[in-house]
Symmetry: C2
Amino acid sequence: MVLQGDDAAARPRLGRAPSTTHADLSHTALRLFMERGFDATTVDEIAREAGIGRRTFFRYFPSKNDVPWGDFDRLLDGMRDHLASMPDDLPLMEQLRRSILEFNRVPESEVEYHRRRMELLLHVPTLLAHSTLRYASWRQVVAEHVGRRLGLPHGDLIPQTMAWTCLGVCLAGYEQWLGDADADLLELLDEAFRLIDERIGTEAIQAHRGSHASRSARG
Amino acid sequence: MVLQGDDAAARPRLGRAPSTTHADLSHTALRLFMERGFDATTVDEIAREAGIGRRTFFRYFPSKNDVPWGDFDRLLDGMRDHLASMPDDLPLMEQLRRSILEFNRVPESEVEYHRRRMELLLHVPTLLAHSTLRYASWRQVVAEHVGRRLGLPHGDLIPQTMAWTCLGVCLAGYEQWLGDADADLLELLDEAFRLIDERIGTEAIQAHRGSHASRSARG
DNA sequence: GATACTAATGACACCCGGTGCCGTTAGGAA
DNA sequence: TTCCTAACGGCACCGGGTGTCATTAGTATC
């Protein structure tokens, strides 16, 4: 969950130059969220504080809810690629563990910032609800990999349930992390996955493959 | 997921009589949602159609998003009680399976109605997001039972992850159900739980009990 | 340096969900 | 009838989000 990348790296081409960046806006907004609370911070306030118009705010972020998320889609693409590049002889859960850990790696300098963002995302009801849509995309990526690996449609029960379980492991791990100021996120997640792994044997799942007519559902 | 119960059964006591019921309002609204789509249906339209004031609508439902949910909290209380009443000698997953199935039982006459509601809840992004808050309560009930049963804080990794997994099984099952007009929901969920059960052995989990310092997180 | 082109900006009006407030209405009880 | 009470409905208001459009600030061209 690294922050959104190089806004500035893009070459100045044509037309009026943008008056701010995603990163700047995001930092300003997050600061206000921390000071006054998420719901109590209005978009007008964020815009004023950032020195832009309210209308402009919505050209940087589709909604106030999206601010704490950064460029999630790009990260997700990264995880998809990472999963696809996993050697075939690795057990499924091991592939998932490695890729998901990688997905959650964040530069040392941004750990505290990350902690504050996740605190918001997991504890503010509005954001908790909104996050569901992101989680759905994330689960989709996991389910597709599991499906591919097991030769099942990604809409089938096993891939879907494994995706939910992985999400649960991550979020439970995040909660532990947020509750312990000294904890290391990746260590926690790693431990969590190893603990769960022992209970979700890939072999057993594969034994079941084909034993049921595979109904497919939309992912 | 039986619908909200007897609005009318309450004795008329004092003051002006209510001009409608949760059930009536709910049916009117659901019909409009089906006809025009959820987002395209405004609260004003629902109120007008139901013959009440817009302001009154919000006295029956805290938000438009809550309409398709009915009286979820009451159902949840039922599940909590059902779980608590389970014989101790039953394996954990068996207790969960039974209670969750019971939670999802719906009278034959309401099956089609239930299907339409779930179609909305699972496929309309706005509702999908909002539902997260309900799912959180549901997971809480599951996690508390698992925690009690395993002698772990409900915030610990195992109860939390099991709750997520159960939720995943249910929602994956619902997706299968929605994708197959002839399917029977309870049969599907039953099959799903039995399939997953074999992979989440309670004994193995119990073997791990206490092997880690139990960090607790808020549920 | 003037001009043309382009892209971001900001102001405005508007829609919708949701809330606080308050006077009104419709029932039972005295 | 009168009193009490709970539900009702209208109104004003807030905040998030969108469509529209004139304006601004850059680059490229002459």
